[in-house]
Symmetry: C2
């Protein structure tokens, strides 16, 4: 069952050479990678106004954070969610359309351009909730995006060689087309209504927009609840009508990875963007303030560098865990995609953590609160990764690589990797409560030390596996948890 | 000959499922994609201090540009070049090492972290050329990066199943290892000398660093000149010793694409980053200055929006041309890689163009100069793309897809696509000299109209091909330039 569920698009597009032979169509692989890169950067962009909020040294962080929480963080999270919804729609669209040509590439770029404008219109909406400008701009963008996507679908069905092979082979192409158009245009119709209502009665517009954004998740929840109450989990795939098939199937794993990579990469580099712009001392200032000693001028940025390295290590290792996790996942379901989105949204908050911890080094109360915020962000980012793994374990036959399933060779390992960050961040959080002299410097050094913990973990897991193995072999029982990596056997022997 | 030249890494890694079965090794595909994303963002990061340089409205742009040109743009270009050299070294390294495991992934992340620090240390070097701090920091980073890469190589040879299949099958692995280590450590040794000399006699350090950066290109040039004077172009591949093979072969096309995508994506979104941070009106300001009318407040940003859309369209279309070009290129040689780097360096300058054109709308002299700078940037970015195509045509049997070769179906098309931007930017440049009332608004509208020119071009090329075809068919000769796309034939018929 799993084989026909998966469209052959990704594998083919990535592996094969470009196929411009027929009708000048092209593999869509690179277009999608570029779109993923754009969308992931756009999703994380709204963290910048949050991170760059100036907090006065005499202000208490508690108040400032409340003020931040209420507006800018909400804007960031909503933007992230909105762009993720747009991204998911894009994934679905290009699961229907597998090959592209020049016209589609240009239409897609137009679509991207409008999506990059969504965060801006959304932040207008948040700044002036009572004025129709923001919501009107947002809805109009959404409508135009929907129309462009509809044009892409119509164009695709007009040139059927661009379509998914299964749709190409299907008998009722027209039915498919109208069904897909209906799904794509459902959102824009609501947005159009929202745009119209924005001039008369703004609350209705907000309700409509909220409905558009949460609709896929709500329907998913309803289906899930229905299945739970009736208890017919096995029937689920069969109850779907054949043509909604392509739109409800799991997200393309490759694109989930590409999107996540983009978010991790931009988060890791947002930090260095700031450093390169703000922390190069001015030659005039060096002469006047630091007696012409550049070293002295740089030493004032010491904490920024430490904070930068610590944040990079955290981002890098969370990427590493994500990478290891998705190596073992064979299929990303919708719910796992949602959990991944939540995890990424917190990852996007790391620059804020960096900004906070590098800003308040020597002010005891604020400093502790800044560290706590960082811990909370890291905790949620990692706990949602853990949740993806737990979800995958629930349906391990479909979603996990055999080695990572319960009892598999890599299972204990994966578990330890995923549990490390939640434990470390929780530990750091409680340390801040207990130790009064806990400081940012200690926190950052802790962050930098974690990779060595990863390596130590590797050795620890192996040792404990070896101990279990020897205990089991003493009791003369065959054990499942064979770990053959320690001794370097030839590939032929280890393949079994 | 072309088949064994290409390592099987990319295809396998992208297409196949992850292979964690043997020795817990993993396909390196995603690690490389993530590294490419990080490196491309880092390469373009130094355009920010250039683009954000405040120019006073009363200053003449001419002077400011001179000041900019001398320091910040030089820093940007050098950073771009340095990061590209680091990227190329990374590509070569992971052509030797094909599979990764957890240790290699962590070592690679450490390497990335240090590379992200290079732009900063370089800008320190540029700000304080007479002080050893900058050059010492830079050289130290380079040395540590080299050491980490050496550790990666040693680790790889210690676990031979991680290596390239050809090296795995080779008899003299130890010879390979020492040769590769020698190549990798050559740069760091010079950097170490530079770091030492920075305390005694700084000019020597600069000479040494310049040598490291330009060394690969100089040797390439020498080899090329030698071959030209002796005239033994065909002998070239044979004259290489067997073990330098992997390090002199063409760059992985997939990674060139990934790196380019990253640069285009970050350039396209740097603009919206600025807009989201700077152009959301303050609610207080709206009340005081604009009589509570958000629309009025937004209208002052009108030119920014226009400039943003225009820049996005330019970036998007240049990406589109790049995408089309690399669809037809089957192998990216070193020289093509270098041309691509130059093209990307100018692409990275587009945010500067945006900043300039959005800043000086109504000031006639500066405005014209800002437009001219934008034209120059777009011209060079596109002319280097054109140069890649010309280079590919010189060795079309090895580097081009049959359809795009001279006389091929897509040849005229590709030519037209690549020639469009140089022509448009040159045209706009000369218009600024001729028309006195030429303004930024006209320029941006021109930029936005270009995609329609792309579509018009498509129709134009087809029409001219059809005319040529009909002329040829009138003279009863078989013609080569068959363009069968207009009539929708079945795939079987068009395959020939």
């Amino acid at each position: 069952m799993s084989a026909p569920l998966r469209p052959p698009a990704e594998g083919e597009a990535a592996a094969g050479p470009p196929r411009p032979a027929q009708h000048s169509s092209q593999a869509s692989h690179r277009l999608l990678a570029y779109s993923d890169a754009l969308l992931s950067i756009i999703a994380t962009v709204m963290i910048l106004p949050v991170a760059h909020t100036k907090i006065h040294a005499d202000q208490k962080l508690g108040e400032s954070i409340q003020q931040l929480l209420l507006t800018k963080i909400a804007v960031y999270l909503m933007t992230f969610l909105i762009v993720t919804v747009a991204w998911a729609a894009h994934v679905r669209l290009f699961q229907v359309i597998e090959l592209i040509d020049d016209v589609l590439a240009l239409l897609n770029l137009a679509c991207m351009m409008l999506i990059t404008f969504l965060p801006y219109s959304f932040s207008l909406m948040a700044s002036f909730p009572g004025v129709p400008v923001g919501i009107f701009m947002f809805s109009t963008c959404a409508v135009v995006i929907g129309l462009i996507q509809a044009v892409i679908v119509v164009y695709g069905f007009y040139h059927p060689y661009l379509l998914n092979h299964q749709i190409q082979a299907a008998e009722h192409q027209a039915v498919y087309k109208y069904r897909i158009l209906q799904i794509i245009l459902r959102g824009p119709v609501f947005c159009l209504l929202a745009a119209v209502f924005s001039f008369f009665f703004i609350p209705v517009s907000y309700v409509l927009l909220g409905f558009v954004i949460f609709f896929p998740h709500i329907t998913q929840l309803i289906i899930w609840c229905k299945n739970k109450t009736i208890g017919s989990r096995a029937e689920e795939p069969h109850s779907l009508e054949s043509f909604t098939f392509y739109l409800n199937e799991p997200l393309s794993k490759e694109r989930v990875e590409a999107f996540s990579d983009g978010v991790y990469a931009i988060v890791a580099t947002l930090l260095i963007l700031d450093i390169c712009e703000d922390n190069v001392p001015d030659s005039k200032e060096v002469k006047d303030k630091f007696h012409d000693s550049v070293m002295e001028a740089l030493s004032q940025y010491g904490r920024n560098f430490l904070a930068y390295f610590a944040s990079f290590v955290t981002t890098g290792l969370l990427w590493f865990v994500h990478h290891s996790l998705f190596l073992h996942i064979t299929k990303a379901t919708r719910f796992m995609g949602l959990l991944n989105t939540f995890s990424l949204a917190f990852i996007g908050g790391l620059p804020l953590a960096y900004q906070l911890t590098s800003e308040f080094e020597k002010k005891s109360h604020n400093e502790i609160e800044a560290i706590q915020v960082s811990c909370v962000i890291a905790f949620f980012a990692s706990i949602f990764q853990f949740a993806i793994w737990i979800t995958a374990l629930f349906h391990e036959r479909e979603t996990l690589h055999p080695l990572a399933r319960y009892g598999g060779k890599e299972h204990a390992f994966m578990f330890a990797k995923l549990a490390l960050y939640p434990c470390v961040s929780l530990g750091a959080f409680f340390l801040t409560c207990l130790l009064s002299e806990f400081s940012t410097a200690i926190f950052h050094i802790m962050q930098i030390v974690v990779p060595f913990a990863f390596l130590a973990l590797r050795i620890l897991v192996r040792m404990s596996l070896a101990i279990i193995k020897s205990i089991l072999s003493v009791s003369r029982r065959k054990n499942v948890l064979l770990d053959e990596e320690e001794t370097c056997l030839s590939p032929a022997e280890t393949l079994s």
